[in-house]
C-alpha cells in the first residue's frame, strides 16, 4: 500500500509539470492544434457496435482530419520509448503484444505520437490530443492493423 501511495504522489507532481509543458507546446503554431480539439469519448466513437462490425459515430465522421482529444488508458507498450501505442477504454490487464492468449478489445484507438516519448503504466489515465484518422492502415514495423488513429499526437497524464 505504501508503495502505491507514494506512486500516486509522484504521478501528481509529474502531471502538473507535464501539463505545463504540454500547454507550452500546444501554443506552438503549425500543426492541427490551431483549432480547439473536439473531445471524443470511448462511449461516443461508434453509433453501432455489433458482431457484424462497428459504425463510426457522426461525431467521429465529422472530425476526420481535425484535432480531437480523448481520455483512456495506455496499453502495455512494445518498448519503453515508442512513437506508437494503443489506447483502451479500461486499463488492460492482459498484454496482447506479449502473451498469445490475450486479444485486443474491439474499440481500441491507435495513437501515433509526434515524437518518441516515455510511456506510462496502463493503470494511469491519459488524455491524448492529435489529428483524427480513420480507415484501414497497417503499421509498417509491427504489422498492426488499425481503423481509428490519432496521429501527430501527444499525451498527458490524467483527464
Amino acid at each position: 500500500m505504501s508503495d502505491s501511495l507514494s506512486g500516486s504522489t509522484r504521478i501528481g507532481i509529474t502531471r502538473r509539470c507535464f501539463t505545463a509543458a504540454w500547454f507550452a507546446f500546444a501554443a506552438l503554431p503549425g500543426s492541427a492544434r490551431a483549432a480547439a480539439p473536439t473531445p471524443l469519448t470511448f462511449d461516443t466513437l461508434y453509433s453501432e457496435f455489433g458482431v457484424r462490425g462497428l459504425v463510426f459515430s457522426p461525431t467521429v465522421k465529422a472530425s476526420v482530419g481535425k484535432p480531437v482529444s480523448i481520455i483512456g488508458y495506455m496499453a502495455p507498450p512494445l518498448m519503453a520509448e515508442a512513437t506508437f501505442f494503443v489506447l483502451t477504454r479500461e486499463p488492460l490487464a492482459i498484454c496482447p503484444f506479449c502473451q498469445s492468449d490475450a486479444d485486443w478489445p474491439s474499440d481500441i484507438v491507435v495513437v501515433r505520437l509526434a515524437g518518441a516519448s516515455p510511456l506510462v503504466s496502463a493503470g494511469t489515465r491519459v488524455t491524448v490530443t492529435g489529428t483524427l484518422e480513420v480507415g484501414t492502415a497497417t503499421d509498417p514495423d509491427t504489422g498492426f492493423v488499425s481503423q481509428l488513429r490519432i496521429v501527430d499526437a501527444e499525451y498527458r497524464r490524467g483527464p
Binding site: S4, M79, A93
Partner: protein, 604 residues
C-alpha cells in the same frame, strides 16, 4: 526434480563459514543429479523424430513424419526406417529433404500426410552415417467398431476440484455436512484422474491440453494439432489429424463446436487447427472454414470481418461471414436469431454473439456488467448446447459435439471467484441438458473434463460479522468458517445473491502484486494488475486498492505475470454412455482422444 530443488535451497542457506570443498561437493552432486534427472546425454545433438517417442497413433489417421538431422547431411547418408524398412516405401510417400530448413543448421526429412494401418508397436529409426536415433510408436485400432452414435465432449476450461466443490455448495446448499443435491457433472458412472503435462513442460495451457484431447498426441505450450519442431513459420510444423477432421473425413456425422470464448480461442480451435501459435486467430478462422463444422458458436467475430470493416482484426479483405453464408450456413448474432435458425430447421449454423468473449453467467443473468449493455441478447453455454444438439441430432449418422465453458479459466486468471463459480454452474446445467438428451436413446457418450487445473482451494469463508475490516480478520477457518449464506437459488441453480455476509473463501494460489478485499466484484470482472511503466512488469490495479478493507498482496509470480496462472495438478474426468467404461484410474490426457476415437470406431 523435487529433491534437486531442495538441495539447491540447502546450498543457498549454507552458513557462510561452511568449508569450501563441502559446498563444491554438494554442487557437483547437484549437477550430477540435474543431468541424470533431465536425461542429458551430452555430446552432439541427436536427430529428432516427429511424432515423438511413445506416440500413440490412431490407425489410419493422418500425420506428418518429420526428422530433423543436425547439420548438413547428404541425401544418400540419410536413412529413415519403420521396423527396418524404408519409411517412404512403408508409408507410400515421396520424401522431401530440405537442407538448412528455415536457415537452421539442420537437414529436414519430411513425409507428409501419411498414415499407418497395422495395429501394434513400430520402431522408427533415423540414421545419418553412424549417428542413429530411434523412437517407438504404438498404432492402435478400434476393434469393436462403432459403439456410440454420438459423442459430446464437455470441457470446463481450468475446471478444478475446488470449483466443483464450491459450485456444489453454492448451487445445492449444504446442511450438517450433507449437500442438498448432486451436480450433473458428479452424477456419472465413470471417473478418472487425467494428467495434463505437455511435451515441453509439466504445466500446460489450453492449446496443448486441448490438442491432446483432439489428436491423441501431446504437444507443447501454445501449440494445436502439431508437434513442435524447429520451423519458423507457425503453420509449417509437423501436423497430426484432429478428431474434427477425422469425423468429417471418415464418417457422415455432424460436427459441432460450441463455446463462450472467442471461437478462435485454443479450446474450440483444437477441433480444427494446426498451428504452433494459438494466437493465429485469422488462420484459425480459415481452418474452421476448411473443416466446416456444422455448428460453430462462440464470440470473436472481428476475425471474420474484412479489414476494411471497422472493428475487423483481419489483415486481409476476406469476408468470412459471407464465405460461410455462401457455403450454406445460417449466420446468427443473437440468441433470438439462433433460436429462430434452429426452429427453421437450419442444418448449418455459424453463431457469433460477441466481438470478444460471450459474457459469463453472473453478468448475463444478474449483474449485467461486462459487455452485456452492448450485446444484450447473447445466449449462454446452455442455450448454445440446446441449439447445437437440436441441429446436430437431425443427422441420422450421429454427431460429435464439443462444448466449452471457457470462462471458468478466464475468471480464475483474473482472480474473480464468483464469476468462475457461476460459469461452473453453467457448465453443470449444459451437462444436465445433454444427459437428459442422452437418456432418451442411451447411444451417446458424454465426457466432462477440464483441460488443465488452476491452483484454487476452498479454505473457509469470509464473514462480515467477524470483527475488523481486512480479509485476514474476516476469514473464518475450520469451525469458524461455518457455511456460507448465499441467497436462495433460482430455477437454474444460481444463487440469487452473492454479495452476502458469509461467502466461500476460494483462494488462488498464485497472484501478481494486487489489492484484495475479499468481496465479490459487483461492478465487473476483476482486473488484478495492470502493466507497469517498465515493460513486462505488472503492478496492482490502483482501483482495487480503493475498495473498502483492501490490503496489498505481494505477488508470488514472476514480474511479467499480469494474472493467476495454471497449475500442473491432475484434473477430474467424469463420463457416461457407450465406450465410457475405459475411464478409471489415472490416465494421460491423450487417452481421452483414444476413448472417443474407439467409441466412434474411427480407425482405418
Amino acid at each position: 526434480m523435487g529433491r534437486v530443488f531442495l538441495v539447491g535451497i540447502e546450498l543457498a542457506r549454507a552458513p557462510s563459514g561452511s568449508p569450501i570443498d563441502e559446498v563444491a561437493m554438494l554442487k557437483r552432486a547437484l549437477l550430477a543429479t540435474v543431468l541424470v534427472t533431465a536425461g542429458w546425454t551430452g555430446g552432439a545433438v541427436a536427430q529428432t523424430i516427429y511424432p515423438l517417442d511413445r506416440a500413440e497413433i490412431l490407425s489410419g489417421s493422418k500425420f506428418d513424419l518429420k526428422v530433423e538431422f543436425p547439420g548438413t547431411v547428404a541425401a544418400d547418408q540419410l536413412k529413415v526406417t519403420i521396423d527396418g524398412k524404408d519409411a517412404a516405401e512403408v508409408l507410400g510417400a515421396k520424401p522431401e529433404i530440405v537442407a538448412k530448413e528455415d536457415g537452421h543448421d539442420l537437414t529436414a526429412y519430411w513425409l507428409r500426410g501419411v498414415s499407418l494401418t497395422t495395429a501394434g508397436k513400430v520402431k522408427v529409426e533415423a540414421s545419418a552415417g553412424t549417428e542413429k536415433k530411434s523412437v517407438a510408436w504404438e498404432v492402435f485400432d478400434t476393434p469393436k467398431g462403432r459403439v456410440a452414435k454420438n459423442v459430446i465432449l464437455f470441457v470446463g476450461d481450468g475446471f478444478s476440484i475446488a470449483h466443483r466443490t464450491a459450485a456444489r455448495i453454492m448451487s445445492k446448499g449444504i446442511v450438517q455436512g450433507h449437500f442438498g443435491g448432486e451436480l450433473a457433472v458428479d452424477d456419472m458412472p465413470y471417473m478418472a484422474l487425467i494428467s495434463t503435462p505437455g511435451t515441453d513442460s509439466i504445466v500446460t495451457d489450453s492449446a496443448n491440453a486441448m490438442s491432446a484431447y483432439t489428436t491423441g498426441h501431446k504437444t507443447c505450450v501454445n501449440a494445436l494439432g502439431i508437434y513442435c519442431a524447429k520451423n519458423k513459420n507457425t503453420l509449417d510444423h509437423p501436423k497430426v489429424e484432429t478428431i474434427g477432421e477425422l469425423v468429417k473425413r471418415k464418417t457422415g456425422m455432424a460436427l459441432g463446436v460450441v463455446t463462450n470464448s472467442e471461437i478462435e480461442d485454443a479450446t474450440p480451435a483444437g477441433i480444427v487447427a494446426h498451428t504452433r501459435k494459438r494466437s493465429d486467430f485469422n488462420d484459425i478462422v480459415e481452418m474452421f472454414y476448411d473443416v466446416k463444422p456444422d455448428v460453430i458458436m462462440g464470440g470473436g467475430s472481428p476475425n471474420f470481418l474484412p479489414k476494411s470493416t471497422p472493428g475487423s482484426k483481419r489483415k486481409d479483405d476476406v469476408d468470412y461471414l459471407k464465405k460461410f453464408e455462401e457455403a450454406g450456413y445460417a449466420f446468427v448474432s443473437t440468441k433470438t436469431e439462433m433460436e429462430k435458425a434452429v426452429a427453421d430447421g437450419k442444418s448449418k449454423i455459424l453463431g457469433l454473439y460477441n466481438t470478444g468473449n460471450i459474457d459469463g453467467a453472473l453478468d448475463l443473468k444478474y449483474l449485467k456488467k461486462g459487455s452485456v449493455s452492448k450485446f444484450p441478447d447473447q445466449p449462454d453455454v446452455v442455450d448454445e448446447t440446446k441449439a447445437a444438439i437440436a441441429t446436430l441430432s437431425k443427422n441420422p449418422n450421429g454427431f460429435f459435439l464439443m462444448v466449452e465453458s471457457a470462462r471458468i479459466d478466464k475468471y480464475s486468471h483474473s482472480l474473480d471467484p464468483e464469476r468462475a463459480l457461476f460459469d461452473t454452474i453453467m457448465l453443470d446445467n449444459a451437462v444436465k441438458y445433454a444427459k437428459d438428451f442422452a437418456a432418451k436413446n442411451g447411444d451417446t457418450m458424454i465426457i466432462v473434463v477440464a483441460d488443465h487445473a488452476h491452483p484454487v482451494s476452498i479454505i473457509g469463508t469470509y464473514d462480515d460479522d467477524r470483527p475488523g475490516q481486512t480479509p485476514r480478520e474476516k476469514l473464518g477457518t475450520y469451525a469458524d468458517a461455518k457455511v456460507p449464506n448465499y441467497g436462495p437459488v433460482d430455477a437454474e441453480g444460481y444463487p440469487t445473491n452473492i454479495d452476502v455476509s458469509r461467502r466461500i473463501a476460494l483462494e488462488f494460489g498464485t497472484t501478481p502484486d494486487t489489492c484484495f478485499n475479499a468481496k465479490p466484484f459487483m461492478d465487473g470482472e476483476n482486473v488484478p494488475a495492470v502493466a507497469g511503466a517498465t515493460p513486462k512488469t505488472y503492478v496492482e490495479n490502483p482501483k482495487n486498492c480503493e475498495r473498502p478493507g483492501a490490503v496489498h498482496i505481494t505477488g508470488n509470480l514472476p514480474f511479467d505475470a499480469s494474472s493467476g496462472v495454471h497449475s500442473g495438478d491432475d484434473v477430474l474426468l467424469t463420463a457416461m454412455g457407450p465406450g465410457a467404461e475405459v475411464f478409471h484410474g489415472r490416465l494421460d490426457n491423450t487417452r481421452v482422444f483414444r476413448a472417443m476415437a474407439t467409441a466412434l470406431g474411427l480407425a482405418k
